[in-house]
């Protein structure tokens, strides 16, 4: 079984920051905005190298979204960064009207998504943002899994013309995908080939899915693991091909099971090839203060939760 090596724990937000710095050197039209969270978003290097291309808007996210939309008129490519909660729920109508409906080339870059921002608690731990963003017509929704992939995604979305929601996080997590990888928006990445069950994961849950597949292998279960970094547009072909083979699926995400990746997969299957599915996700609840590991454990978002759901869905498959 292929081994994925953690080359050293890093935060996905640093992948964003380093990607942005690189864009500053290669893409003269890329500009950045932030709502008083430069340190958290790792934007300082970009700012140091391109002070005239950075807009500090203060604690005023609605204004930041509108300014971003305006900057596209004149050919700029704005990367607007703040915490996921303030980048989506707080400014839903601004994104809806001034960005999505207006078809503006704005990149909403959201750090500190999910429960893993930890001790700040539920006011800051948004678990609904994927749903909010994927419901907007024309919006591309990406949730990256590690530093390398986040950096690659940051570079890729600059060359894509259209609104994008890029979701990443705060904690230092395993960095295991290839350095300098090519990021293809909307293209699933197969991490393990398997025959018994498909595990489709996004964001921080991808590494957990890799761990889960190894545990399942020890039990004699062959799990196919797919890294879905792009939730919209979903790589339906990859999902359907895998589930046609395995006949059972577990989706895993750091998000409410309402409105997330799991529901997108369920819809795809329902319309094409229904199969038993289990959801590793939060169960329509808010988060709370704690360490990322404690929260993953309590809310059932780690590798052991994925193993448990895989065994459950395999039983359901057998019962059909």
């Amino acid at each position: 079984m292929k081994k994925y090596i953690d080359t050293g724990k890093k935060d996905t937000r640093s992948g964003f920051g380093d990607g942005l710095t690189e864009l500053g050197r290669t893409h003269p039209n890329v500009v950045a905005l932030c709502a008083d969270l430069v340190g958290s978003l790792k934007m300082q290097d970009f700012i140091d190298e391109n002070p005239e291309r950075f807009f500090q808007v203060g604690i005023a996210e609605a204004n930041m979204v509108g300014i971003s939309a305006g900057l596209t008129i004149g050919g700029k490519i704005p990367f607007a960064g703040t915490f996921a909660n303030f980048a989506t729920g707080r400014v839903y109508d601004q994104i809806r009207q001034s960005v999505a409906y207006s078809g503006k080339n704005v990149k909403i870059c959201a750090s500190h998504s999910g429960v893993t921002l930890g001790e700040d608690g539920a006011t800051h731990q948004i678990l609904e943002d994927i749903g909010l963003m994927k419901m907007l017509p024309g919006m591309t929704v990406i949730n990256t899994c590690d530093y390398n992939q986040t950096k690659a995604a940051t570079l890729a979305i600059a060359d894509y013309n259209g609104p994008v929601y890029l979701r990443f996080g705060r904690p230092k997590v395993a960095n295991f995908t290839p350095e300098n990888q090519t990021f293809e928006i909307g293209k699933a990445v197969q991490l393990y080939e398997g025959n018994d069950v498909t595990i489709i994961a996004t964001g921080h849950l991808v590494w957990e899915a890799v761990q889960a597949a190894q545990v399942l292998a020890e039990k004699g279960i062959s799990a196919e693991v797919i890294n879905i970094h792009t939730i919209k547009p979903l790589d339906e072909k990859a999902v359907l091909a895998s589930v046609a083979k395995t006949g059972a699926v577990v989706t895993a995400e750091e998000h409410n099971y309402l409105g997330g990746l799991g529901e997108s997969v369920a819809r795809t299957l329902a319309m094409n090839n229904p199969a038993p599915q289990e959801f590793v996700a939060t169960q329509d609840t808010f988060g709370e203060s704690g360490t990322p590991d404690q929260l993953f454990e309590k809310y059932g978002l780690n590798s052991s939760a994925i193993v448990e759901k895989a065994l459950k869905v395999l039983k359901r498959k057998k019962d059909i």
Binding site: V31, E52, R53, F55, V57, G58, A60, A62, N63, M64, V65, G66, I67, S68, A69, G70, L71, T72, I73, G74, G75, K76, P78, D93, Q94, R96, Q97, S98, Y101, S102, G103, K104
Partner: protein, 280 residues
């Protein structure tokens, strides 16, 4: 343009507004009529703009309508300035039309650079466009229009603080100061206080146009506003208008904010505004 030509243009715009709204029995004639002179002056006299529409709008002045519900006046002036065929005004608010109830880029209507309708967002967009102009070393200006009631939306005050703090001095934001909104006068609904003092306290230059339906006064006021650009401060124009201006029974009331005239009312309103440039 000569004053009479601007007057004639405005009269035709009023007819267009009334006929658009009447045909589909919906839309917002009151605020549209109140701003007919302003739009005429902006597009025919003040702005350097190119009807061969390009979204990026480099090397030309830009305009953003924040209070998108006054789309009838916007559409009429855009059409009669050459952005799209005047006959298309016939499709206002109809299915499959580029002339949506509120303006949008979504159907590709030339002249419109942002969707508006959900209030309070236009100033932020105008600020972004103004800052893009600065980055592009483009000396042209950005204009925007906002309802006075619309200033009740908090995002405006984020934008007003930002504009002054970041010295966005290539923006002229006009407030349609008619004192009316859907539920009544702004004083009844939520008093705006002293807007001049508020904008000045936030660090803006304020130009007041007391007779906001007088073409000569608007020209003078906007030229004064232009002369104040490039000096480190954003410019606010407080344009005191009369809602429903040009149709006697629609004036000085909020009643015609979002109501279409009946057949008889249309006839009466049009008789007060005889055809000048030809109806569509």
């Amino acid at each position: 343009m000569k004053l009479q030509e601007l007057e004639d243009f405005t009269t035709q715009v009023r007819r267009d507004i009334l006929r658009q709204v009447h045909k589909v029995n919906s839309g917002h004639p009151g605020g549209s009529l109140g701003c007919a002179e302003f739009f005429t002056v902006l597009y025919k006299e003040v702005m350097e703009h190119n009807p061969n529409f390009d979204m990026d709008g480099k090397n030309e002045d830009l305009f953003f309508l924040s209070n998108g519900h006054i789309s009838p006046v916007y559409y009429s002036v855009l059409a009669r300035s050459g952005y799209f065929p005047v006959e298309e005004l016939n499709t206002f608010r109809l299915i499959d039309s580029r002339l949506q109830g509120h303006p949008t880029t979504h159907e590709g209507l030339p002249g419109v650079r942002i969707a508006s309708g959900s209030l309070g967002q236009g100033m932020s967009v105008a600020l972004g466009a103004a800052q893009a102009k600065k980055l592009n070393k483009d000396k042209h200006l950005v204009y925007s229009l906002h309802g006075d009631g619309e200033l009740q939306e908090g995002q405006n005050w984020e934008a007003i603080m930002y504009a002054a703090g970041k010295k966005v001095d290539n923006l002229i934001a006009t407030v349609d100061y008619n004192g009316q909104q859907i539920d009544g006068s702004t004083d009844q609904v939520l008093p705006l206080g002293d807007l001049k003092l508020k904008f000045e306290a936030f660090g803006w230059e304020v130009v007041e146009i007391e007779e906001g339906n007088n073409i000569e006064h608007i020209i003078k006021g906007l030229q004064l506003a232009k002369s104040k650009t490039g000096q480190g401060k954003p410019i606010c124009v407080l344009l005191k208008t009369v809602m429903g201006n040009g149709v006697d029974f629609m004036m000085h009331t909020h009643a015609w904010h979002g109501k279409a005239p009946s057949n008889e009312q249309l006839k009466e309103a049009l008789s007060q505004n005889p055809e000048t440039l030809g109806d569509y």
